[in-house]
Structure formats: C-alpha cells, structure tokens
C-alpha cells in the first residue's frame, strides 16, 4: 500500500549507509532508485530498512521516533515493531489491537563489508551480495553527487578506471588508483554506486586494508578530497551539458 501504483524493483543489493552511521535511536533517510527508505537499528542491533512512508497518511517515518524497538510516526503516533514492521498500537483507539494487515513496508536489509545494504524487491530468493573484500577493510566517507549513475560511470570510464561490473549495470564496482600518503604511491579502492534517483547518486568507497588511528584519518581525508574533486568535475560537466541542452 504505497499510495500509488506498485513499482517493480530489481532483485539487487545496494549499499545505503556505513554500518557505524546507523546509530542508536536514529532514523537514517536514504533513497534508492527513487524510493525513499527509512533505515534504523533497534536496541538489539538489528537493522531495519522500510519504505519511508507511514501506511496511515503517508508521512515520512524518518521524521518520527526510533524508540529502540519500534518506529513511531510523528503524525498520529502509530507504532511499528522492529523486524516485522507490524503496527502494534494506534493511540486514537488505544484499547483495540491494530489489524494484522497494517504494517510498514519492509525491505531486505543486511550488513556486510562495513555497509548496510538494501534489497527493494520482494522476490525470493534475493540475489547474493557482490563479493568485495576480505576481512580487512576500511570504509570511506560517502560522496553525494548531483548526477545520475550513468554520468558517474561514464566519467569514471573516461578516466580509464578499471570498470568491473559486479553484476547487472546498476551496481558498478570500479577500481581506481588513488594516492596513499604513507606510501607515496596509489591505493586500490573500490567504489560502490548507490543510484538514488534519476538525478542523484551516492558513491561509497572501501579499501581492502584495515587502518587505525592517524593512518586511518589521513586516508579518509585524502580519499574524501579526491572523491570531492571527482564529484565536482562530474557535476560541472553535467551542468555544462544541461546548459547546452544535451
């Protein structure tokens, strides 16, 4: 019950947030393929990914409350339980148990390689996660880009990045040579694409090396600077092309 005609989503996993960013009693607001998602962790640590929309009157769940075991909608206080998404309480009729059919729309959600991944399709079985790195890795700060995935990929391909498709075209894993301040060389980095919508993309990143302390901070900063410059170039090109009507 999403308010308009149902959309078919591909049976794919998309990264949407770094694991440590889905913090307690918080609701992450994300978007994949135009669909807004509310991601939240209950107090046992379980990560939920739900359609960001209360089934009652369509208010975004992300402006509501994560109480540690349920989401409460900000509009009428309806409560939805972790894991099942089932509505457990309707304050306007406090003595009546809500009908079983009343529930938030839940999506497949898993955590691996330092990221929370979401699968929007309801088909079973769900596709496997792409295999990325081993047990030692560092996740980077994610970069939001005001450009569609196609532009981001095209840009990276022109830069002679080694493009290895991890599966169907929507999720692209690209190995990009980057500068490592400690080694004065380059560091192999995997960029993971999260297609937010027709106009926006998030680039997540991961390096297959576990770093700590100042080394880790230095890597995060230098990679963030690099990705930010990359992002600016992609956006400048997109703006230039839009101005020229391409």
């Amino acid at each position: 019950m999403s308010g308009e005609r149902p959309v078919q989503f591909p049976n794919r996993w998309f990264p949407v947030a770094r694991i440590e960013e889905v913090v307690a009693r918080h609701i992450v607001q994300a978007q994949v393929l135009g669909q807004e998602i509310a991601i939240w962790r209950d107090d046992t640590g379980f990560a939920n990914a739900w359609e960001n929309r209360c089934p009652h009157r369509g208010v975004r769940l992300s402006i509501g409350l994560n109480t540690g075991h349920e989401l409460r909608c900000q509009y009428h206080g309806w409560r939805y339980s972790s894991r099942s998404g089932q509505c457990s309480f309707i304050p306007a009729q406090p003595d009546r148990k809500p009908a079983n059919a009343i529930r938030a729309t839940t999506y497949g959600c898993t955590e691996q390689y330092g990221f929370v991944w979401v699968n929007l399709s309801n088909t079973q079985p769900t596709a496997p996660l792409p295999s990325l790195v081993g047990d030692s890795f560092t996740t980077l700060r994610s970069t939001h880009v005001d450009a569609p995935l196609s532009r981001v990929k095209a840009f990276l391909e022109r830069r002679r990045a080694s493009v290895t498709d991890g599966g169907p075209p929507d999720l692209v894993e690209i190995d990009v040579p980057m500068r490592d301040p400690a080694e004065n060389g380059t560091m192999r980095t995997t960029l993971l694409m999260q297609p937010m919508s027709d106009t926006q993309t998030v680039i997540h990143g991961i390096v297959a090396k576990a770093l700590v302390g100042n080394d880790r901070l230095a890597l995060l900063r230098s990679h963030d600077a690099y990705l930010t410059r990359l992002r600016d170039e992609i956006e400048n090109l997109a703006r230039r092309d839009d101005t020229h009507g391409r």
């Binding site: 960013e21 409350l65 939001h144």
Partner: protein, 214 residues
C-alpha cells in the same frame, strides 16, 4: 529582568530562546509581530533597533541586536561553567566565530528560502537553495570528520557551544524552504544530538528526538 523582543516563528529568535533555556535564565518575552503587522519596521521598534530586525535583547538597559551577538553576550555573562563560549581558549573562540559567521551565511540562504516558501519573500529562491546546499555539504563534511575523532559538536570535543545553537534552527527548518537534508547524514545525526541537550526546547516546526537508551 532580561527582555527579549521576539517572534515565535523566527529561527533567529529561537537561537536566543534556546540559550536562555539552556542557561536557565528568566526572561520577559515581548512579542513583535513580524507578520502580518510588520511590527519590526514600526517607529517604536526602529527606535530600539534601527535595522528593524529581530531578535533584540534589553538586559537592564543594555540593548543588543543580532542573534549571534546576543548568544556571545548571554553565554559570556551568564554561563558560570564557561562552556557555551569558553573565553579561556583562543582556539575555540576563533573556531566558534568561524561557525557564527557560517550561521550568518545560513541566514542569507536557507533562511531566506524558508521565508520565500512560507511568506512569499521576494528573492532568487533557486540561488538561495543552491547556496544552501553548498553550505550543507561543507558542514556535513565537517561534522563527519568530527565524528571520526569522537567529537559530537561543531567546535568542542566535549560539549556544545553557541556555534551549535547558532547553526541549528535554520538547518533544522531547511525543508520549509525546499532544502532537503537527505544527502547529509552527518547533519541529521548532529541535529538529533542537539535535540538531546538537556533543557532543549522546541519551536513550531521542530519535534523532539528519541531519548538515548539509559
């Protein structure tokens, strides 16, 4: 008693109301009707603040305009613990001033977009929104790297300062001006933390965050 010339829906006035609550100060709120009466442009108010802007405080005859200036004054004078504006740290004071100026930039961008969408203020709203997004990217990056070293606030590792108060309202109300915070996860986590500061108070358009587990 401290007097505050105040309008309920003004984010700038809310900055002062927040610090007043955090400091536990007694205040007499004198309403000045920004809309529709445009009372802030009337003769009696212009006599108090020739710029015709809110908020203004009158502390026993000392008149101050400009939300950021008022925050500096109230924190300096009334914060016995010296945390909201730590005058013993030149580094922190410089850092705080940087973000107070940033808050003024927010006033000229995301706050104007809100005025446009709600009250039909005449401005280049597309430009305001684009500029707001540039500012949001900057502060999101800053907050993200702060989190990496265990710092929950804009300037100080251990506690909020008036920089956090100055930047919070118009960031929190950004969606009223068509500026979504969806691309800024670090900002969204920070606004939750500001809402959990003891004695945090609301203004219309802002809701409480969930308490952290005990």
């Amino acid at each position: 008693m401290l007097k505050l010339y105040d309008y309920e829906l003004s984010g700038n006035c809310y900055k002062v109301r927040l610090l007043i609550e955090f400091l536990g100060l007694a205040v007499e709120r004198i309403p000045v009707e920004f809309y529709p009466a445009q009372e802030h442009k009337t003769a009696w108010f212009l006599a108090i603040n020739p710029l015709g802007q809110l908020p203004v405080i009158d502390d026993d005859g000392l008149i101050l305009r400009d939300a950021q200036a008022i925050l500096v004054y109230l924190a300096s004078k009334y914060d016995d613990l010296g945390r909201w504006y730590p005058r013993d740290s030149a580094e922190l004071l410089g850092d705080i001033q940087m973000w107070l100026s940033f808050a003024a930039d927010l006033n000229g961008t995301v706050a104007l977009a809100r005025l446009h969408d709600s009250f039909f203020h005449d401005c280049d709203v597309a430009h305001c929104r684009a500029a707001a997004h540039r500012l949001f990217r900057l502060i999101d990056q800053h907050l993200w790297f702060a989190e990496q070293i265990g710092q929950d606030w804009l300037c100080s590792p251990t506690h909020p300062t008036i920089a956090d108060i100055a930047c919070f309202p118009y960031i929190m109300l950004s969606e009223e001006g068509g500026v979504s915070r969806l691309p800024y996860p670090a900002i969204r986590r920070w606004t939750d933390r500001v809402k959990r500061i003891p004695r945090f108070t609301l203004m219309p358009g802002i809701f409480f965050a969930s308490a952290l587990p005990a």
